[in-house]
Symmetry: C2
C-alpha cells in the first residue's frame, strides 16, 4: 500500500462550529480519506483560552495552543480553517496563510464583506485557494453554484432570506400576532437570538451576506458599505397584520440585482430591508430559522436553494466540504478558479433602486382627501397600483400600494404626505417585493 | 495583449438545447471569455440531417457536418458537447472523445444511467473531464453540490421531483380533479408531454435520474436497472381525492436512501413511484413543470434545490456552466475529481425498502370486518397508523394508513386482503412519504 502524505489542518477557533468540525473529521475519517485521496490530520487548534471545557473532543489535548499566528506559520500546515469570526485578528491570520501559499477555509462573513479584497489578493499572491461556503446560508451549497455552475449564465437578481434569527422572529410575529419585542424575547429564550442581537436584528449580518452574494453573482467587488441596510426593529404587529390583509407576509430580504443606473450604465443594487412578499412566493413559506436564496438568471430562469443557515452541524458541513475541495486541489497541485471580478460594476445608490411601497395613512375623513393624496403620488411620478379606504370620522385610513418606482421618488412622496394637513399620521411604510 | 489559444468545442446535436447552447455562446461571448480566460469557439456542429431549418443561428453554416465521429476525432477539438440523447451512437462518440483526452459535457441521462461506468472509465483512461449537470433537474445546480459541496458530509436520503411532464400532469389532476388521460391530453396540447409520453409517464426518465443521483450521493455505481420503477398511468382521480382528504398531494418521487439491508449491512435503496406527501412538505408546493430535489445529510440537515428541470434555455444554462468548468480545467492543465465510487454499496431489493401504505378498501358492512382486516396487518407485522371507516350497507369503505414497514410485508398484506370474502375490492394502494 502506498502511504500518501496527509493534508494537515490548522484549526483557528474551537467554539460550536470548530468543535463540530473536529468531531466530523474524526467520525468521517475513512470517508474523507477515500474522497480526498489522503488522510486529513489536525496539526493544531488555536483557542483564546486553554483549559476551557469543550466537552469530550476526539483529539489530542496537546494540539491546543493559544498562539494562532505561530500555528498558521508552521511549515507542516497545509490548510488553515478559520471559524473565529470578526475582522481582526482573523484577517491577519488568513492573509499570512494565503500569502505563504496555504489554502484557507473560512466562515467569516463579516471579514469577507468588509475586506474580502485583502483575502482574495493574498490568495492570488500566494497562488492559494480561498473557500468560504459556510459564510452565507450555512449548510446550503450556494456559493459553489454561484462561483461555478452558473458561470455560463447571466444572473440578474438574487433574493434571499439569509438570517435565521430575524426569520424566526418575523415567523413568530406572523404566526401569533406578537410584537417585535415579545418575539425577540422568545427567540432569545429558545437560543435563536444572541444576548446582543444587534448584528442580526439591525441587518448587519444579512448585509454582509448580501455583499458576498452580490460579489459572486455579478463578478464585481461589493462590500458591506455598499449595501443599503435596514433591520426589523421597527416592524410592528400592525405591519404584520396589514401584510396579512394583503395576502402577504413580512421577511427580512437581501436583494442584489443587476440593471441600468439612471444614466443607463450597467450597475448593481444591493439592499437589506424588511419587505412584504405574497404568501404564494416560494420564499414566503421559508419559516423559523431556515434560510433560502432565490436566484434569477437569464437562461436558467428561477432557482431556489433552501436549508439550515446556521448552527454547529450545518455550518461544519459546509466547512468540511470546503476542506475536502482544497485538500483535493493541493494533492493534484492545482488551484480553484480565482476571484472573478472582471465585470467591475459600480454600485448604484439606494435612491435609484426600483421598489414598491405599501403605505398606511391615517387621514381626515373629508371629501377630496383621496384626490389630494393621489396628487402627491402623481407629482413624484409614482404610479398607484391599489388604494383601500376604510373607517370614517376620526379614524379614516387609506392604504396605498404603488407600482415600481425609484426609491428616492417614493421617499419624497412619503415625506410630502407627512406634511399634509389632512394626513394625521403615517402608520406604516413597507416595501413590497416578489410579485406583480 | 497576449493572445490566448481558444478552447474549441465539437457540438453533437443541434435541436432545442443545442441551438440554445449556440445562441448563448454567441450572446455571452465576452463574459465567457473573461470567466474562462480564453475564448470558446465552435469547431463544428454534428447533425443528423443537413439543411434542416434551425432558425437563424449566429454560426457559420460551414461548421455543420453529418460526420459526428469524424468531428469528435479532429485534433483541433478540445471539448465534446453531446446533446443528442439516447444510448448509441452517443456512447461511441463520448467514449472516443474521453479516451483521447478530450473533455466531455453531456445532458444524456439515459446513457449515464444505463452505462455511466463506460463513460467514467473512458474519462479515467484519457485523464479527461466528464461533466453532466444538465442530465438531472435541468438548470438546477444539483450535481456539483453533490459531487463537491457535500463531500464533507454523509448524505442519507435524496427525494426528488425530477420529471416535469409527470409533475405537470399530477398538478393538473390535483387542481382540477381530472383523470390521468384528460390531464395527459392537456399536457400534450401545451407542449409539456411528448407525442410518445412513455419515457415520462412510465417513470423511465425519473428512474435514469434517480440512478445518477444515487451514484453521486452514495459514492457507488447505481444503474437504471437497479431502480424500482412505477409510473403514474394508474393514478386515478379517486386516488388524488383520497390524498386531498388526508391533507396530501400525489407526486412522482424518486427516492434514493442509504441504510442497513436485512442483514444489517450498509446498502442503497433506489425507487421511483407515485406517493402521497403532506401538503406541508416543501416538495408539495412544487407545481407545474418545475423540479425540486430534497437532500438530507447527517450534518447539513435538510436541503432543497428548486428550479426548471427542462426546456432549451434552462438545460443550456447547465451545459454552459459545465463548458466553462471544463474549459478552465483545460487551461490550467487539471482535471476535476474523478468518479467517486469507493463506497461500492450494494443495492437492496425493493422488498426491503421501508415505506408506508395508504389503502382504500370497499368492504362488507358487517360486525367484525375491522377486526379481521386489522388481523391481516398484524399477521404481516405491519403496524396501522390510522383507520377511517365510512359509508354503510353496500358501499362501506375502510381507509388504512400504515406505519413504515418493509415493502414486501405491505405487498403481502394487500395480497391477503384481496383474498378476503369481506373485501369487495381494493380501491387504491398508494405509498405515503415525507412526514410522520
Amino acid at each position: 500500500m502506498i502511504m500518501v502524505k496527509p493534508v494537515r489542518l490548522a484549526l483557528l477557533g474551537c467554539g460550536t462550529v470548530g468543535a463540530e468540525v473536529v468531531r466530523l473529521l474524526h467520525e468521517q475519517a475513512a470517508d474523507l480519506t477515500a474522497r480526498v485521496g489522503a488522510p486529513i490530520e489536525i496539526a493544531g487548534i488555536a483557542v483564546r483560552r486553554m483549559g476551557r471545557d469543550r466537552g469530550p473532543l476526539p483529539v489530542d489535548p496537546a494540539l491546543f495552543t493559544t498562539d494562532a499566528l505561530g500555528l498558521v506559520k508552521r511549515d507542516d500546515v497545509d490548510v488553515v480553517v478559520e471559524v473565529v469570526g470578526g475582522i481582526e485578528p482573523a484577517r491577519t491570520w488568513l492573509v499570512e496563510a494565503l500569502r505563504s501559499g496555504k489554502s484557507a477555509v473560512t466562515a467569516n462573513k463579516a471579514l469577507l464583506a468588509e475586506d474580502g479584497g485583502a483575502l482574495h489578493d493574498a490568495a492570488a499572491e500566494g497562488r492559494a485557494d480561498l473557500y468560504y461556503e459556510a459564510s452565507v446560508a450555512g449548510a446550503i451549497p450556494l456559493l459553489r453554484p454561484l462561483r461555478e455552475s452558473l458561470h455560463g449564465d447571466r444572473i440578474t437578481r438574487v433574493t434571499g432570506i439569509v438570517n435565521g434569527t430575524t426569520n424566526f422572529i418575523l415567523s413568530a410575529m406572523d404566526a401569533t400576532g406578537a410584537g417585535f419585542t415579545e418575539a425577540l424575547e422568545e427567540a432569545t429564550e429558545l437560543g435563536y437570538a444572541e444576548a446582543d442581537p444587534t448584528a442580526d436584528v439591525e441587518g448587519f449580518d444579512a448585509a454582509a451576506k448580501a455583499a458576498i452574494l452580490a460579489s459572486l453573482a455579478f463578478h464585481s467587488r461589493v462590500t458591506a458599505a455598499d449595501v443599503h441596510r435596514e433591520g426589523i426593529t421597527e416592524v410592528t404587529a400592525a405591519d404584520v397584520a396589514s401584510a396579512k390583509a394583503m395576502g402577504c407576509t413580512i421577511k427580512l430580504l437581501c436583494i442584489a440585482s443587476r440593471g441600468p443606473d439612471s444614466t443607463g450604465a450597467d450597475s448593481v443594487s444591493v439592499r437589506v430591508h424588511p419587505a412584504m412578499i405574497p404568501r404564494t412566493h416560494p420564499l414566503a413559506s421559508v419559516g423559523d430559522a431556515f434560510n433560502a436564496v432565490f436566484v434569477e438568471a437569464e437562461a436558467a430562469g428561477q432557482l431556489m436553494f433552501y436549508g439550515r443557515g446556521a448552527g454547529g452541524s450545518p455550518t461544519a458541513s459546509a466547512v468540511l466540504g470546503d476542506i475536502v475541495a482544497v485538500a483535493r486541489n493541493r494533492l493534484s497541485g492545482v488551484r480553484a478558479p480565482s476571484e472573478s471580478v472582471y465585470a467591475d460594476l459600480p454600485v448604484r445608490p439606494m435612491g435609484e433602486a426600483v421598489t414598491r411601497y405599501h403605505i398606511s395613512l391615517d387621514v381626515a375623513d373629508r371629501a377630496g382627501v383621496l384626490a389630494t393624496v393621489a396628487g402627491v403620488f402623481a407629482k413624484h411620478d409614482v404610479s398607484i397600483a391599489t388604494v383601500r379606504q376604510s373607517g370614517r370620522a376620526d379614524d379614516a385610513s387609506l392604504v396605498v400600494v404603488t407600482h415600481g418606482a425609484p426609491e428616492a421618488a417614493l421617499a419624497a412622496t412619503v415625506e410630502q404626505l407627512r406634511g399634509l394637513d389632512i394626513v394625521r399620521s403615517i402608520a406604516s411604510v413597507l416595501r413590497v417585493e416578489g410579485g406583480a
